[in-house]
Symmetry: C2
Subunit: 209 residues, 2 copies
């Protein structure tokens, strides 16, 4: 291992978290070893446990960090638009950026949900994730309703439905044979499905086909 000068604590932690993210996206929590993470980060295994108390703590911080950053980017994307429909479009574009990024993120996310379903520490982080999403999604819908663009009853429930469509479509996409090829179709469907749900009935809706 090539010895370099000492890094600051926050630098090292970030490098290790990024490395852990790549690894978990590829292999999944229980198939990732501390050696894998350290090797990808260009340090020795000991460093990993010097900065994090345990593998579990490292991953809890990883998911926590991931969630904060996705929340921040969602808020940013939403704030950049004023038109409710464009806000939804921006959100879809953010959540479906590219096949490779989505594969990495969704794999890690599904893994995280599995952990969250069984270990209290992870469940708490997951609860925070959905609480943040509720605020953001619900906010878009509420604003859209105020502007008379969206036609739904309850903005909070509509927010939950939107989030469910995001997550549910992701799971359907992950089951596809060719992720790369089917990606654009899923991204479009996601946008269309959400807007169909939010927008008032247009001429033609209510009729066959």
């Amino acid at each position: 291992m090539v010895r370099t000068s000492h890094a600051t604590e926050s630098e090292r932690r970030l490098v290790l978290l990024k490395s852990a993210f790549r690894e978990v996206a590829e292999k999944g929590f229980s198939e990732v070893t501390l050696d894998d993470i350290a090797r990808r980060a260009g340090v020795s295994k000991g460093v990993t446990l010097y900065y994090f108390d345990s593998k579990e703590e490292l991953f809890r911080e990883l998911f926590s960090w991931l969630i904060d950053s996705i929340h921040a980017r969602m808020r940013e994307a939403v704030a950049a638009e004023t038109d409710p429909i464009e806000r939804i479009r921006a959100l879809v574009a953010l959540i479906f950026p590219s096949p490779s990024k989505n594969r990495a993120f969704f794999r890690a996310f599904v893994d995280f949900c599995g952990l969250a379903a069984r270990r209290e520490a992870f469940r708490e982080v997951n609860e925070r994730f959905y609480a943040g999403c509720r605020a953001i999604d619900g906010g878009i819908v509420e604003d859209g309703m105020r502007k008379g663009v969206f036609a739904v009853r309850d903005p909070r429930e509509a927010g939950s439905t939107i989030r469910a469509i995001f997550d549910g479509l992701m799971m359907q996409w992950l089951a596809e044979r060719d992720l790369e090829a089917s990606f654009p179709a899923y991204r479009e469907r996601c946008e269309r499905q959400i807007l169909t749900y939010l927008l008032p009935a247009t001429p033609g809706k209510g009729e066959r086909r």
Copy 2:
């Protein structure tokens, strides 16, 4: 280990699969050991690998079996009703039977999705799962459209949206602090969210609140 009389192959396999299901629901694929499964089934570890080539094969068969049985029960529930709205209600009742059953099933399902996102053999089973769901969900919507009850554009896309709402709400539910207490609300929300989406705009829809 208490020696009992020999069982038939299909009996033993079923006992082992059921045992594996309980274990995976509690612990997750990579935390379950062959010993755990054998112990719960009341046999020795050797038996498990006598009937299944490997741990992976056992779980592939488990998920395959689980999926066939959920498909069968979905078709059954749908066939028992003729009214499209009642069919949706029956599906929701089937998918949200009780907190404990849901917890077990969803935990196993999330685990399975994690596996499916990384291992081809599991991905294929997952693809079969969603293909079956598409047929069932799409069929309900198509029938509802024919009967003039549902007002959506594309029955296949609507089927995908319904499935996404099921899966997406399940993930939101799994993040709740108190699964037991929040269960009825989720079940109701699920039914309401799907019917709101499928039914034509009613008086009041399109207006605030």
